[in-house]
């Protein structure tokens, strides 16, 4: 518990410093808003439509593959910590785990889902 208190202090100070900097900027800077200044930037022309576009599904695929890999790799960390004291059995086990993981990547790859089209 105790050590996380210090981490918590880092979070608090890490919030205070940028808030302070931004607040200082807010106080020192001029405030003269006008409609043209506040319109969103679009390469100099008038903004067309709303600030939302249809996304391609490819973004989702990469996030999906990332999610699966992220979860599994994180689970490998306790294994890696203990590896030095464990025998061949644990090593084989970890290798099987990684191979199953790579099988997923290979499937996604073979389905052509890793192409950016």
């Amino acid at each position: 518990m105790n050590e996380w208190l210090y981490v918590g202090l880092f979070f608090i100070v890490g919030l205070i410093i940028p808030i302070g900097a931004i607040a200082m900027g807010f106080m020192l800077g001029p405030k003269k808003p006008n409609p043209i200044k506040q319109s969103t930037y679009e390469c100099g022309i008038e903004p067309v439509g709303e600030g939302w576009v249809q996304f391609k599904a490819q973004y989702y695929i990469f996030a999906l593959v990332f999610l699966v890999f992220d979860v599994e790799t994180v689970f490998l960390f306790p294994w890696a910590v203990k590896l030095g004291q464990l025998g061949m059995f644990a090593v084989i086990e970890g290798i099987v785990f990684i191979l199953i993981l790579i099988a997923g990547l290979v499937y996604t790859w073979r389905k052509g889902m890793l192409e950016w089209v």
Binding site: E3, L9, F10, P18, T40, Y41, A80
Partner: protein, 397 residues
């Protein structure tokens, strides 16, 4: 116990004495002292950050055969302060239709995600920061907060280009997190701990000599994670005008900018900790904690310099090439390397030091050679296929 051997403890004891003599209870005084310590560290970091701007501009200009800032103060040293003042007195605009709360939180979170990284950086044998037993994963956790801040910034600006920029940036950042996680497994396997200090203590031989490939992959993944060139797709100037931070001005933009530079410096530091012995340098760190701090800051600066060097040497890569490079090359290689390292570690653990090092280096070289050979063969096939297509087209004409 004198000041030069353990400055933090001396200062903390002195402050504790003062606070308790004011009638504060022990716990509160302890928390207050820790708070002041964290505040001091982060303030120093912000000052370093200001000078990073100067270093960056100076180094870039040398790469590009210019002189760089040289008017304001000696060697232009005052220039970054002028930049800060300029950022501060600029108007803080908020675009129409922006989601005000999210829009304002994003730069704060972005800066915070970098600053909290320093919680786990051991600066000297007597200044370990917070010696968490999961220090390695803490880097990734802080990185996920940074990713989130980019999505928030892009989405809340109510601008197509910032949303697209944010999405591209996040797709790249999360993708490269995987090889980074995988290479972080390797120091963990060598050390048998995820604590930063344990990893440094375990490096009687720098891990870069045990696993140079892992060090290289970590550096590449870190550069992508930082969103720096050649992986700086979030800010494709011609396509996306500036990426997720396009609608930000003044100090809010400054937070993104300063956060990026400090992030690069911090990852230089992590690179040094994971693979180059952190604050250790042939026993010099035992002489004085100040020397140890100088060593780790120097190593971090070297890492930062290498990241800059890559940035200004290599040209920008297209997003499809980048994601293909990550998923089809870097990630499989990183995982194969983890498997080989785990296997070699189990086989050679009892075989003696020299055999262990030789085996590790050899296995690294073999993995690197094999993967490059596979890439060579595949690209040769691809070239032949394209050539064949060309001939077919020409035959038609």
């Amino acid at each position: 116990m004198n000041f030069w051997n353990d400055p933090l403890k001396v200062a903390a004891d002195w402050l504790m004495g003062i606070f308790t003599s004011w009638g504060m209870n022990d716990v509160a005084a302890h928390v207050l002292v820790a708070f002041l310590g964290v505040l001091l560290l982060i303030t120093i970091l912000m000052v370093i950050d200001i000078f990073l701007v100067w270093i960056e501009r100076k180094v870039v200009s040398r790469f590009q055969d210019r002189i760089g800032p040289n008017r304001v103060g000696p060697f232009g040293l005052i220039q970054p302060f002028a930049d800060i003042i300029k950022l501060m007195i600029k108007e803080d605009t908020t675009p129409d239709g922006a989601d005000k709360v999210v829009y304002n939180i994003a730069p704060i979170l972005s800066m915070m995600s970098v600053l909290i990284l320093w919680a786990v950086v051991p600066l000297a044998p007597v200044m370990l920061g917070v010696d968490l037993n999961i220090g390695v994963l803490f880097i990734i956790a802080a990185g996920s907060i940074g990713t989130l801040s980019i999505i928030m910034a892009g989405w809340s600006s109510n601008n197509k280009f910032s949303v697209i920029g944010a999405f591209r940036c996040v797709a790249v950042m999360v993708s490269f997190e995987i090889p980074m996680l995988a290479t972080l497994l390797i120091p963990t396997i060598f050390t048998g701990s995820m604590g930063m200090n344990a990893i440094i203590q375990g490096q009687n031989i720098w891990y870069v000599f045990l696993s140079p490939l892992a060090a290289l992959i970590f550096l590449i993944a870190a550069i992508a994670e930082l969103g720096r060139a050649p992986f700086d797709l979030a800010e494709g100037e011609s396509e996306l005008v500036s990426g997720y931070n396009i609608e930000y001005s003044g100090m809010k933009f400054g937070m993104f900018y300063a956060g990026e530079l400090l992030h690069a410096f911090t990852f230089g530091g992590f690179w040094a900790i994971m693979f180059f012995g952190g604050y250790r340098f042939f026993g010099l760190e035992q002489i004085s904690p100040f020397l140890a701090i100088a060593i780790i800051l120097f190593k971090a600066l070297v890492g930062y310099w290498i990241i800059m060097w890559v940035k200004y040497t290599v040209m920008r890569i297209r997003i499809d090439q980048m994601l293909a490079f990550n998923w089809k090359f870097l990630t499989p290689v990183a995982f194969v390397l983890v498997m080989v390292t785990a296997l070699m570690n189990a086989l050679l653990r009892d075989a003696g030091n020299w055999l262990y090092i030789t085996g590790m280096i050899l296995s690294n070289i073999i993995v690197a050679w094999a993967s490059l050979e596979i890439v060579r063969l595949v690209s040769k096939k691809e070239r032949e296929r394209v050539e064949g297509l060309k001939q077919v087209v020409e035959a038609h004409h």
